[in-house]
Symmetry: C2
Subunit: 420 residues, 2 copies
């Protein structure tokens, strides 16, 4: 009997009407003869309400002391409620269904309360129940820690629960239902000619996920890749009897026709920092980046260029906008030790990235990018690349335009749609 795992997020179970819609999607798969497990999040807004109660009670989130244990027990109750409500609705439709809380499976985690990692899933009982025709409704986002207490996996953890469960029960696929009908070549709100992607590889999705395409949590994609569990992104807002095909995220080898570039992704959350006139001596750059790392500040897109002054260099990098002030503080405190002249920063920047497995085997992808942007008069401030990704830092005001022209340049436009 083939097993599948379905996952529904908070907006998909926001109220009883939405839960009934979810039940309709679930029964479609059960009626098709699948052994079904469903992983659910808390009702939209519920996790925030519970987190606020914890904070009012004095637990900073994430709390890493004993308070984190209690925080987890409070917050996990949201998924506990949704899983039982969905089981109830399925029972009233005449299906056998039961809820499974993390500790009941058991889904064992490590001891890192508030952001636990899954250690092991004992899939025997739940797999047997599924194959016996009972729909397993699983409370996402949670498990049981070595101390016997409830642990949560951190925000977005229900995706990870679903993928890990799919791997543990040997599911043929894991369907992630969200409020969009698939993964797009770019953000459809920015470019009307954006297309839904039929198939995309794990590697590309990982780059896209970490670049800010918020469809899937990065960890869940990593886990799916490691266990070779095909993912499918679908909309829970489509009629259950007219479900679209969504986007399949799978192994590179399972994609017959590979695009050179799959996605064009803008990210407006970056800020840039330039350190002017750093003495061009060994150890100076190391001093800068050690200080930032010690302060737990993530940086990206590092560029070193010659200063006008001989014997000095300028060093630029990007960081998340929310960490900019702290980064500037850390650097100012080190100014004497490092010996640079001054600091510049810019919040009005955007990172635009093109991602595609085809880059591995096709030359010229970068030159198309640079030429296209140059032709349109868009100035590139920084560049960074990986094996399957090229990112450029540009003026934030030009980003939307850049996305559209790159989308067209890489042949991604859906020409059935009106131009943007």
């Amino acid at each position: 009997m083939s097993r599948i795992v379905m996952k529904f997020g908070g907006t998909s179970v926001a109220n009883m009407q939405r839960i009934r819609a979810v039940a309709a999607h679930v029964r479609r798969e059960a009626d098709a003869g699948k052994s079904v497990a469903v992983v659910v999040s808390a009702m939209a807004g519920e996790t925030n309400r519970l987190v606020a109660l914890c904070e009012e009670a004095g637990a900073p989130a994430p709390a890493l002391d004993a308070r984190g244990v209690e925080y987890d027990a409070v917050v996990a109750s949201g998924e506990q409620v949704t899983s039982s409500l969905l089981a109830l609705v399925l029972q009233n439709l005449g299906y056998r269904a039961r809820s499974w809380q993390g500790w009941q499976i058991p889904l064992k985690t490590d001891a890192a309360h508030g952001k636990a990692r899954i250690a092991e899933i004992d899939a025997e009982a739940i797999g047997a129940a599924m194959d016996g025709g009972e729909i397993a409704v699983v409370a996402g986002f949670q498990g049981i820690a070595p101390n016997g207490r409830i642990a949560t996996l951190g925000r977005g953890g229900s995706d990870t629960s679903a993928v890990a469960l799919a791997a543990a029960v040997g599911a043929e696929r894991c369907d992630i239902y969200t409020d969009v009908d698939g993964v797009y070549t770019t953000d459809p709100r920015l470019a009307k000619k954006a297309r839904r992607i039929a198939k995309i590889s794990f590697e590309e999705m990982l780059e896209a996920a970490s670049l800010g395409a918020k469809v899937l949590q990065t960890r869940s994609v990593e886990l799916a890749m490691a266990h070779k569990v095909p993912l499918r992104v679908l909309s829970s807002f489509e009629p259950p009897d007219a479900q679209g095909p969504g986007t399949v995220i799978c192994d590179e080898d399972d994609i017959v026709e590979q695009n050179i570039v799959s996605t064009v992704t803008p990210d407006f959350n970056d800020a840039s920092v330039t350190i002017l006139a750093v003495p061009d001596e060994p150890g100076r750059a190391a001093g800068i980046f050690t200080a930032l790392a010690d302060a737990d500040i993530n940086i990206d897109m590092i560029v070193q260029s010659a200063s006008r002054e001989p014997g000095y260099a300028n060093i630029s990098f990007t960081t998340k906008e929310g960490e900019l002030d702290r980064a500037l503080e850390v650097l100012s405190a080190e100014q004497d030790a490092i010996g640079f002249k001054s600091l510049q920063s810019d919040r009005k920047v955007a990172k635009v990235s093109v991602v595609g497995l085809g880059m591995k085997s096709h030359a010229g992808v970068a030159s198309i990018m640079f030429k296209t942007l140059a032709d349109k008069g868009i100035n590139i401030q920084n560049i960074s690349t990986s094996e399957i990704k090229i990112s450029v830092l540009i003026d934030a005001d030009a980003a939307e335009y850049a996305v559209r022209v790159l989308h067209e340049a890489y042949g991604l436009d859906d020409d059935r749609k009106p131009g943007a």
Copy 2:
């Protein structure tokens, strides 16, 4: 080290301000060197919200099929949240504290989801934690059933959780904090001269609890009596540093000076039924009460009297007002079989009861009641008695007056207070 159990109901933990007040009561006992367990209910209103969600999902309450299992998992989340929030507040006050859910103790129940009975409490781990100086905050109202699922004890079950836990850990007493400062000789809203009772026996409290004094759940008093756990009723709304003495509920032998009558209790939830002209033959009354019992209708105060017609009798009884319509339906359906002439019913009745252990050894308690009511022109419709209780059924409009005159007649008036 002496252990105590404290229990706080829904109004006592209704919001974070109230939970902080609870924490102040708890720390007072911990500072006094007690090993403390605290049992909490869900925040006031939360259980109703969760029950409404279950009903919306199609689980009638109480649901006794598979749906009851899911109902329990939803509803039990209320106590789960409160227990962790109180643990957090205590931690932030510098105390070691942790929450215990029913399945973590474990508190084992039978399989009757929605109204489970406690089968066994493994007190070893929680007792050791308490004696180690960690305050145990227990989610009330719930345990783990033989199937490994969460089971709830039914409404008011947190009192029962607290008493059972007190028995299991050998607590010197179980303090039940509510929104009143003790058990009163009668309802202070009806009689201003009502007095708080310093000590009352389990037996008297049981009669008073089942008669409608809603301070404590009947089952919790039974359990305390069986295990000889002294209970104390206290107000959580008093300042923690000026806590009143409340009411102690204990073994008869521990009460030195026994009142003949302890309480005068009105109950406005009854209705009376009179069956006119039942053939006075063996088996007729049995037919009536078998039919009512088969329909699960509770009855009380049965009186048989001669009818004006020779060879016939009238039979009266009381039932809960909410069950009256069903009782009348059942009887009408049996009219031909039983052979009675007609039915009368009356919702405008009240049962007024006096309860006191002293009745066992003092004659004349009943005659004071009948004489007092007769002197005031209050007509008695029905009478029922037990070893320590006399109840009369009277016109509902006269009940408040009857309570006041009986309260005075039995010497219960608090003469420091202004007359009613």
